[in-house]
Symmetry: C2
Subunit: 178 residues, 2 copies
DNA sequence: GAGCTCTCCTTGAAGGTTAAACAAATGGGG
DNA sequence: CCCCATTTGTTTAACCTTCAAGGAGAGCTC
């Protein structure tokens, strides 16, 4: 029942280095809770959506992105970036959603390499039917359990973390400039 | 670039119901940041460990659990519970780690159904070599970016969320008793 | 101790993800 | 215009995860 980051003994002495800087007991605690919560939450939502909508959480997220986009369509690359997944993964995902009839591909007129993923009416229907249940699940697993201050704090924290891991958000790939 | 939880329009009126309760704009913001950060962080650590240790993050976590257990061994079910994964998934994972020579299976003497997963010396070696790099990655992606207050807050929040999703922690499966 | 149920763990198949390799189109120099 | 690096999106194969099914032992009840 321990953390993911000790292997040898935690050494917090003032040793210059060559002994790596392990996590403190408190950091380990935080990290362990983070890992457990994120694993459990992701699994929970995956199961909920697989049961109620017949697709994993991330696929649902793709449909949502499309539903909110201008003409219910997005270029593959843009969709991949929004959803934080690789183009390869998106390619497979869209192929599957296309087979379901929930998304359709369309050529981009201005760039012959380009493809649009377009949400079909059926896809929109699925979303409309399943969104309430999904929102309820998120609410129940997360928001209902947190105070308003905690919700605010969580938002700030995750914004920082996400920003720091962005593949190459404007300037973020120039660490020597910080 | 929108959230995962709107599909129709957000209605925060005092309508009794049948119109589901959507997330508020602020809740959507929090949820979107959470999804992005957790996705990016998991991918980041997966890639880091795949590159440096030749296994995904969750497999690394299994080795850590074993390293910290009494005789570097754990019953399959216990390991699965600690790591928050299904027994089936664990079975496959241990099979792979066994093939790598990092884990060995051993029969349980007191229960002929039981199996121990035992960390081998080689497995321990891999852990010892790769732990510093992994800790550094976690530190750099998470702890270095957060204030002590934020770290504390994150721990509390994630503890609450994890506790709420526990399959059946003592009494947690009796919601009517809360 | 026979029958039942439950727990422990594994298996196989179906589906999702990854990394690397690729074809095609674009676009910026020369 | 031509070359070449880059961008766009797909493909293949290896790997991982999930789900449903199942074998086998434990343990309870009668």
């Amino acid at each position: 029942m321990e953390c993911m980051n000790t292997a040898p003994a935690p050494a917090d002495t003032a040793a210059p280095s060559d002994e790596p800087r392990w996590l403190t007991a408190e950091e380990q605690r935080v990290w362990r809770f983070y890992m457990h919560a994120s694993t459990l939450l992701e699994d929970h939502l995956d199961r909920q959506l697989q049961r109620d909508a017949g697709m994993p959480h991330i696929y649902y997220g793709l449909l949502v992105q499309l539903a909110e986009a201008p003409r219910r369509r997005l270029r593959m690359t843009e969709l991949a970036m929004n959803a934080k997944i690789t183009r390869s993964r998106l390619s497979h995902a869209i192929a599957r959603l296309e087979k379901n009839g929930w998304v359709r591909r369309e050529d981009c007129p201005s760039d012959k390499r380009g493809q649009f993923a377009v949400l079909t009416d059926e896809g929109y229907g699925v979303l409309r039917r399943t969104a309430p249940g999904h929102v309820a699940a998120v609410r129940q697993a997360l928001f209902e359990r947190l105070t308003p201050e905690q919700q605010k704090s969580l938002g700030e924290i995750m914004e920082i973390v996400a920003e720091g891991l962005q593949p190459n958000e404007a300037g973020a790939d120039l660490p020597w400039l910080r």
